[in-house]
Structures are given as structure tokens and as C-alpha cells.
């Protein structure tokens, strides 16, 4: 009698842990599934050339997604990243065209590194505004960054009168050539954009896992009140995550402009939603405190490899949207499953826990993403 019960328990634990493994590795399994299915459908899918091309598309999503991850870990959301991406590309284009300084009657042509730094600084500034609105003035992140989405997009359109800047090549005589390096060149056969993505991932992974800032971020996302009472500077953590997100968006904007050899003021439209999707598919909780860089990277790969695969096998653009939406909904469902499960684990003694509330928030806050797609 006892032995049967014991084996039953062991067996249950085994299936449970298998289910758990499947659940926790779901983004990876989804990616694997996508690769397998599309390689069967198209011989061109899994060629080195195509994978690298897809990876450079992924790099854009991943950079936005990693910035977004920082904000989401904090329990916020950054809807302005798509606009920031477009705006910083316009800033780069603007600077490469030369900055006329009327007082002196000269035109200033900053070199490419300076252009890159200034563009990133603009992204940081946008993030700073977001962060200050959210942390000092207690504006809801959704609203503050939605406002910035419009403001920044408007500024980009204003600066160019709605036109695209097509000449980003610079001039050898003026010493501002080389912008195409970001989007076109390869190091060791790998596109520079992908390498930048990897570098950012390593830096942010390190920040999250090994620094005090990372721990503070997870803590304030998990329970801001408790974090504050433990001496965590919750307000400055909050400002910083938006700054990081802004910088990530700027980097993505620069790479995209360089790849396309043009800076469009409408670039990156709705990319904030793709970024949120990458974070969610990567297993992060929209209520904050849970998620990591690896997951978000996988999420970005799932999105990039899926959408490119659908293009390659010739699925219509409308169906692509349907697929994308379905993937996001399933991802959120699985997230709920993973984080909902823990609530039931302890037998009886634990008094009420606020987890139940956070699970509902997961679903609620995921809704706009899905609807917008």
C-alpha cells in the first residue's frame, strides 16, 4: 500500500518536473519548432546567409526588447521606444547632413562616433523625461510613455517635414563617413548589429545578475514598498530603467537607419508592441520582478524568425498578423500558468498572498498589446 503511494508520488513529481521543464523552456522550444517547421517548408530558410539576415532583423527587436525588459522588470511599461528609435535615427541623419551654425556662418559636420553618441544621448534624454514623469510626478507609466510616443514622433516629423533623410553616407572630405558600418559591415562574418545586440545582452545580463542595481531592480519590481524599506533607492532605479530603455531604442534606431541607408521619421512605428511581445514571450511578468535577458532574447528570436519565415514561405501579411497575435496570446497564457502555479504549492498554512492580484494584472496589462496587434 505504502509503496504504491510512494511510487505514485514519485511518478507524479516526475511528470510534474517534465511539464515544468517544458513550461520554463517554452520560448526555446517555440524557437526550435519554428526553425524545424520552416526548414521543412523552405530549403532557403536554414541557410547561413538567411539566418544572419534574420538575426540582424532580430537585433532590432532584441535591443528594444532588452530595454523594455528593464522597464517591465520594474513593473512599468515604455510605449515610447518605437518613436525614440525613429527620432534618434533622424537626429543621426540631421547631424550627418551638417549643422549650420548661423552666428559664425559655418556648417559643423560631426564625425560618426560623435553622431552616434549624440543620438544615444537624445534617447537617454527621452528616457529621463519618462523616468522623471513616472517616478517624481507619479504619472502612470502607460500614460507618460504614451504621451512621449506622440511627442517624440511629432518632433521627428517636424524636423524633417515628414520626409525621409536618404543620404547618410557622409563625405570623405568632411570626415564623417562610415555610418553604414553599423548596419552593413560584418566582423568575423557576423553583422555588426548582431554583435552589438550580443554586447548589450552581455552588459545587461551582467547588470541584472551581478550588480546591486540589478538586485534593486528585481526587488522594486517584486515589491516596491518592501524594497524601499530595505533601503533600495526605488525612485532613482525607476528613472534609470527608462534611461536604459531610451538608449537601447536609440542604438536600435541607429542600426536600422544604417541598414536601410536612410532615416525615416516614421521608422519604428508600433515597434514598442513588438518589444513588449518579445519580453512577454521571454517569460517576463508584466507585473514586474520576473524575467531575464536570455528569455527576452529568445522572445525576439521567436518573433523575428517567425515573421521572416512566414515571409519566405509566402504567407500573406494579414495572416502574419494573425499568427503573431496568436503567439503572443499563447505566451501570456503560459506565463499565467507558470506564475499562477506557485500560489497553490504551499499546503494551507500560508496566509493570503498578493500573488493572486499580480496574476490578474498579468492578463489585464497584456490585453492592450494583443489588441493593438
Amino acid at each position: 500500500m505504502t509503496t504504491t503511494t510512494t511510487t505514485a508520488i514519485i511518478q507524479r513529481r516526475k511528470t510534474f518536473s517534465l511539464a515544468k521543464l517544458l513550461l520554463e523552456g517554452r520560448a526555446f522550444l517555440a524557437l526550435l519548432l519554428i526553425v524545424v517547421v520552416f526548414s521543412l517548408l523552405s530549403p532557403n530558410y536554414l541557410t547561413l546567409g538567411n539566418v544572419l539576415i534574420m538575426a540582424s532583423h532580430v537585433a532590432i527587436y532584441a535591443l528594444l526588447g532588452m530595454g523594455m525588459l528593464m522597464v517591465i522588470l520594474n513593473g512599468g511599461i515604455d510605449l515610447s521606444v518605437g518613436s525614440t528609435l525613429g527620432f534618434s535615427a533622424i537626429i543621426a541623419g540631421f547631424l550627418l547632413q551638417g549643422v549650420p551654425i548661423n552666428v559664425f556662418g559655418v556648417v559643423l559636420y560631426p564625425s560618426v562616433p560623435v553622431v552616434v553618441l549624440l543620438s544615444c544621448a537624445v534617447g537617454a534624454l527621452i528616457g529621463l523625461v519618462n523616468g522623471i514623469l513616472v517616478s517624481r510626478f507619479n504619472v502612470a507609466p502607460f500614460v507618460a510613455t504614451l504621451g512621449m510616443l506622440y511627442v517624440v514622433r511629432g518632433l521627428a516629423l517636424l524636423m524633417t517635414n515628414g520626409l525621409t533623410i536618404n543620404d547618410l553616407a557622409g563625405d570623405a572630405e568632411l570626415g564623417n563617413t562610415g555610418f553604414e558600418w553599423l548596419g552593413f559591415n560584418r566582423l568575423l562574418g557576423i553583422p555588426v548589429g548582431v554583435l552589438i545586440m550580443i554586447a548589450v545582452a552581455i552588459v545587461l545580463g551582467f547588470v541584472l545578475g551581478r550588480t546591486r542595481f540589478g538586485r534593486w531592480l528585481y526587488a522594486s519590481g517584486g515589491n516596491e514598498r518592501a524594497a524601499e524599506l530595505s533601503g533600495v533607492p526605488v525612485k532613482s532605479v525607476k528613472v534609470w530603467v527608462y534611461v536604459i530603455s531610451g538608449v537601447c531604442a536609440s542604438i536600435a534606431g541607429l542600426i536600422l537607419a544604417s541598414t536601410l541607408t536612410s532615416a525615416s521619421p516614421t521608422a519604428g512605428n508600433t515597434y514598442e508592441l513588438t518589444a513588449i511581445a518579445a519580453v512577454v514571450i521571454g517569460g517576463a511578468a508584466l507585473s514586474g520582478g520576473r524575467g531575464n535577458v536570455r528569455g527576452t532574447l529568445l522572445g525576439a528570436f521567436v518573433i523575428g524568425f517567425l515573421s521572416d519565415g512566414l515571409v519566405i514561405v509566402g504567407v500573406s501579411a494579414y495572416w502574419q498578423m494573425v499568427f503573431m497575435g496568436a503567439v503572443i496570446v499563447v505566451a501570456v497564457l503560459l506565463n499565467t500558468l507558470q506564475y499562477g502555479r506557485r500560489r497553490k504549492a504551499p499546503a494551507s498554512s500560508t496566509p493570503s498572498r498578493p500573488d493572486s492580484a499580480s496574476t490578474t494584472t498579468d492578463q489585464n496589462s497584456a490585453a492592450p498589446t494583443v489588441a493593438a496587434h
Binding site: N223, L229, S230, S348, P351, D355
Partner: protein
């Protein structure tokens, strides 16, 4: 209270109730009876099975084996609404009212009275008024629940249960958020309900308080029923003995050492109500605490204890006066700076303010002292795990290891984690706001022992409590707070009556 002659028939009976979760047995064959017009109180530590039993009685969960007998016939409740239809209602510790709706809408939630023109508000209002009259709560049916005090909200919950003609009312920790005066009102209502033949199942950690209304006591320990008896045959000591077994000692103030210099000085401290800056919650209060001294602050809810402690810790802004640690003013400092300088707070609500639920035990323990886990500027996993294990031992947390999810611990162990987190910052002054709230008596004793042990090593401890009994456990000095001021100071030899009188509570309560 209902006398012996009024004790009615058995309306609800639990027979051999067993409940297992996976491999754990939460209940191992519990038997007890609920009689008409009486209060049956369940006593037991956290994890003894009270909550599980209650969930089974109210239809939240089904027993693994055993029977529930309602009015002599076995029943199974598939859900709470089914139980409610049969006359069994539960009022949870966390109230389940929608604060954005009116009293009327809450009472009729899910079973609105409809007429030809939609909801018949006039009829609902009429019935609501009748219910509120019965419960002597003079408020209008269209008052928003959010505008009511917790005690009043509780009464609305009771009104809702009565509106469906509940004959058996299960109350889970109904007084945990109530002021003493509100408790009296609640007890009045309970007595009134009893006289109308309602049976009540009552659960509370406040033993003394629960004894006031108890007719029958049922004591649980580790999922088994250890004792049961009528009010006339039992007393506090009997309950505690059966709850915890033979060992029961909350401790006594640590002696045999001299206090050090004054560590914490509070001068003229004033904290005002954020909503109403005219009202001082802490009113020009002075206090000195010396190293090694343990000070207990007793007071009713709203006396300003929490605000006082939070102001010292930096959570609550100071409107006037000064706080000094080792003679240095910390009034304008951030929480982080105060922690750095040896002032740490263990907050009242550990779920809301004390723990990061997404963290494991180890990372919760080291959160306030991450500086100690650094190696060349980075958090070292090795150092951190080592520190976490040390802390787990120091504060005797019962856990398999630092990787354990914080939610898997019992209330008492979670509290020890919050205390351990502050101890890890090497404080000079430790502030604890109701450290024993919602934890069982065994854990209480351990927490107090822990504080006594630290005090011996020179830590100044200030803790607040709303249970008089706890004032005597370890405190060298007992302060009574009333309306933002210290109304009396006692030594450990004070009596309960003296303390309660100074707090504004009637000694008879």
C-alpha cells in the same frame, strides 16, 4: 452570552475529515459539532489546519475523506455559493467587498433584485436599510464601501451573509483589523445573531479576545483535534497548552547586564496625517532608548505607534522635532542612510512591506545589506549564499535552504526572514511594528527570544504590540501610547489593567 440552557441542536457536524495536499496531510480525521445559537471557536497555531477545515466547511475545498453533516444529512458543497445556498456563509480575513460600489450593491452583488425596468434599487435599498438597522449601523445604502472604516466594512459582510439567511456563519480572524471599540460592536452583533439562532464558527489568533465570545472551543494541532471543551471548563492556559503542547513560554526580559549609552533619542517628534495636516498622529513625543534596552509600545489602533516607528525609520515624513542616533540627527536622511547608520524597521505588514514575494529566502535576507555580498564591486553568489545560510541559522528560519521560495514558509518563518534582513544590516536600533501579528505562539516565543538575545549584545529594541500579554514577555520598559502621545510608562511589573486603562481601553474588556 448564551447559557447552557439555550444551547440548541447540532446544525453542522464534521466527521473524520481528512484532507491531503500531495503528500502532506493538512487534516487527519477531525470531528466537531456546531450548535445552533452558539459560538464554536477553532484554536490552533498557523498550519494547524484551521484554515483548511474552514475552507472545507464553506465549500472552497472538498475533503479527501470524511463527511460534513448538515441538519442530520450528509452534504457535499461543490462551491462557496452552494454552501451559501444551504445557509453556510464565510467571512474571510481579507474582506471580499468591492470598494468602488455602494453598500447596497455589495450586499446584493450577484443576486440583484430585478424588476421590469432592470434592477429594482428601491427594493434593494429597503432591504439594505432593514439589515443595517438590525445590525445598528446607521449608514445610507448608497454609501461607498471605500468610505467606510474596516470595522463597518466587516459589518457589511455580515449583513450580506444575513441577507441570504445564513444559519451558520464562519468568521476568520474578524477582529484582526479592528480597534477595540469596533471589536466590542462586533461582539455585540455576534451575541445578537446567537439569540436569533445563528451558529457561528469563530477563528482568531487573539486568544483572550476569542475566549470572550466562545461557547465551545476546539483546539487543533498539526491537523488533528487535540482537545475540545465548553467555555465553563476551559481557560486561556488550557487552550495554549493544547495548542502548543507542553512547552509554552514567551520569555521574560533579559537580565544580568547593564544598558549602554543612549542610542536613540526622539525629541518633540511630530508626525501629521497626510490627508489632514492639521491632525497630529504623533504629537510632540520624547523618547530615549539605551543600548541593550527593550522597549514595548502598547496602544490601540490609531494611537500612532506605526507612524512613530515609520518616522524613525524614514518611511513617514517628520513634521517637527528631531530623531537622533548616537547624538547625530537623522531627521532629514533617506531610508538607506538610516539603515547604514543602524536604524532598521520590521514593518507591521510583512506581505506588503516586508518581503519581496518574487525573491527566494536568501535574496530577501540580504536585500537590505547587499554591500556585504560584494566582491570587487559585484554581487558574489558564493558570498551571498554563505551569508544567507548564516542568517538562516542566526534567526532560526525553518527552511531547506536559501533557494526556497519565500511564499512556501509559514508566517512565523517569514517574519524571521524580515527580522533577519534587518539584523544583517548590523543595526544599533531595531524597530518592530507588531512583530507577532499573524504568527503562531511558538514562533512568537522564538521571535522574542531572538530579540532578547540581540539586546544582550547591545541592540536597542523598540517593538509595538496590541496584545497586552506581549508587553510583559521581554520588555524592560512598557510605554502606552494614546492619541499620539505617551500616556504612561511602566516597568515589567505592571498589570494588564493598568496598561489597558492608560491606553483608553476599558479594563473590563
Amino acid at each position: 452570552m448564551t447559557g447552557q440552557e439555550n444551547v440548541g441542536d447540532v446544525v453542522l457536524e464534521a466527521r473524520d475529515i481528512v484532507k491531503t495536499y500531495g503528500g502532506t496531510r493538512a487534516l487527519r480525521g477531525v470531528n466537531f459539532q456546531v450548535r445552533r445559537g452558539t459560538v464554536t471557536t477553532l484554536f490552533g497555531e498557523n498550519g494547524a489546519g484551521k484554515s483548511t477545515l474552514m475552507k472545507i466547511l464553506s465549500g472552497v475545498e472538498q475533503p479527501t475523506s470524511g463527511q460534513i453533516i448538515l441538519d442530520g444529512a450528509p452534504v457535499t458543497f461543490a462551491s462557496t455559493s452552494e454552501a451559501r445556498d444551504r445557509g453556510v456563509s464565510i467571512i474571510h480575513q481579507e474582506l471580499s467587498l468591492a470598494p468602488n460600489l455602494s453598500v447596497r450593491d455589495n450586499i446584493f452583488m450577484g443576486r440583484e433584485i430585478t424588476g421590469p425596468f432592470g434592477i429594482d434599487y428601491a427594493e434593494e435599498d429597503r432591504q439594505t436599510r432593514a439589515l443595517l438597522d438590525e445590525l445598528q449601523l446607521p449608514i445610507e445604502p448608497d454609501t461607498l464601501v471605500a468610505d467606510l472604516r474596516v470595522g463597518q466594512q466587516q459589518i457589511i459582510e455580515i449583513a450580506r451573509a444575513l441577507s441570504v439567511n445564513s444559519r451558520i456563519l464562519i468568521m476568520d480572524e474578524p477582529t484582526s483589523a479592528l480597534a477595540a471599540a469596533e471589536v466590542e460592536v462586533l461582539f455585540g452583533i455576534i451575541r445578537d445573531l446567537l439569540s436569533r439562532g445563528v451558529a457561528i464558527v469563530y477563528i482568531s489568533h487573539h486568544l483572550e479576545e476569542a475566549l470572550e465570545v466562545t461557547d465551545y472551543a476546539v483546539v487543533l494541532r498539526d491537523g488533528s483535534m487535540t482537545a475540545a471543551g465548553q467555555r465553563a471548563d476551559i481557560d486561556l492556559e488550557w487552550i495554549v497548552r493544547n495548542m502548543v503542547g507542553d512547552h509554552f513560554d514567551l520569555g521574560s526580559p533579559p537580565t544580568g547586564y547593564d544598558f549602554g549609552d543612549t542610542v536613540l533619542s526622539i525629541r518633540d517628534l511630530t508626525v501629521v496625517d497626510r490627508e489632514n495636516p492639521e491632525r497630529a498622529i504623533v504629537n510632540r513625543l520624547d523618547l530615549d532608548v539605551r543600548a541593550g534596552e527593550i522597549v514595548c509600545i502598547y496602544g490601540l489602533m490609531g494611537a500612532g505607534r506605526t507612524e512613530l516607528l515609520e518616522a524613525i525609520a524614514g518611511k513617514e515624513p517628520i513634521a517637527g522635532g528631531d530623531v537622533l542616533v548616537d547624538g547625530v540627527s537623522i531627521a532629514g536622511w533617506s531610508i538607506a542612510q538610516r539603515i547604514e547608520n543602524g536604524v532598521g524597521l520590521v514593518p507591521e505588514d510583512r506581505q506588503r512591506d516586508g518581503l519581496v514575494q518574487t525573491f527566494d529566502v536568501g535574496t530577501n535576507l540580504t536585500l537590505a545589506s547587499l554591500g556585504g555580498s560584494l566582491s570587487r564591486g559585484m554581487i558574489s553568489n558564493r558570498i551571498e549564499k554563505k551569508r544567507a545560510r548564516g542568517l538562516i541559522q542566526d534567526v532560526t528560519v525553518k527552511t531547506p535552504g536559501p533557494e526556497q521560495a519565500i511564499g512556501a514558509l509559514s508566517g512565523g518563518n517569514q517574519q524571521k526572514v524580515v527580522i533577519g534582513k534587518i539584523i544583517a544590516t548590523e543595526p544599533k536600533v531595531m524597530l518592530l511594528d507588531e512583530p507577532s501579528r499573524g504568527i503562531d505562539i511558538g514562533a512568537k516565543g522564538e521571535v522574542f527570544r531572538l530579540l532578547a538575545e540581540r539586546a544582550r549584545k547591545g541592540l536597542a529594541v523598540v517593538y509595538s504590540t496590541s496584545e497586552v500579554g506581549e508587553c510583559f514577555s521581554i520588555a524592560h520598559r512598557i510605554l502606552v501610547m494614546r492619541r499620539g502621545r505617551i500616556s504612561a510608562v511602566f516597568g515589567p511589573d505592571a498589570t494588564k489593567d493598568q496598561i489597558m486603562a492608560a491606553s483608553g481601553e476599558s479594563a473590563a474588556a
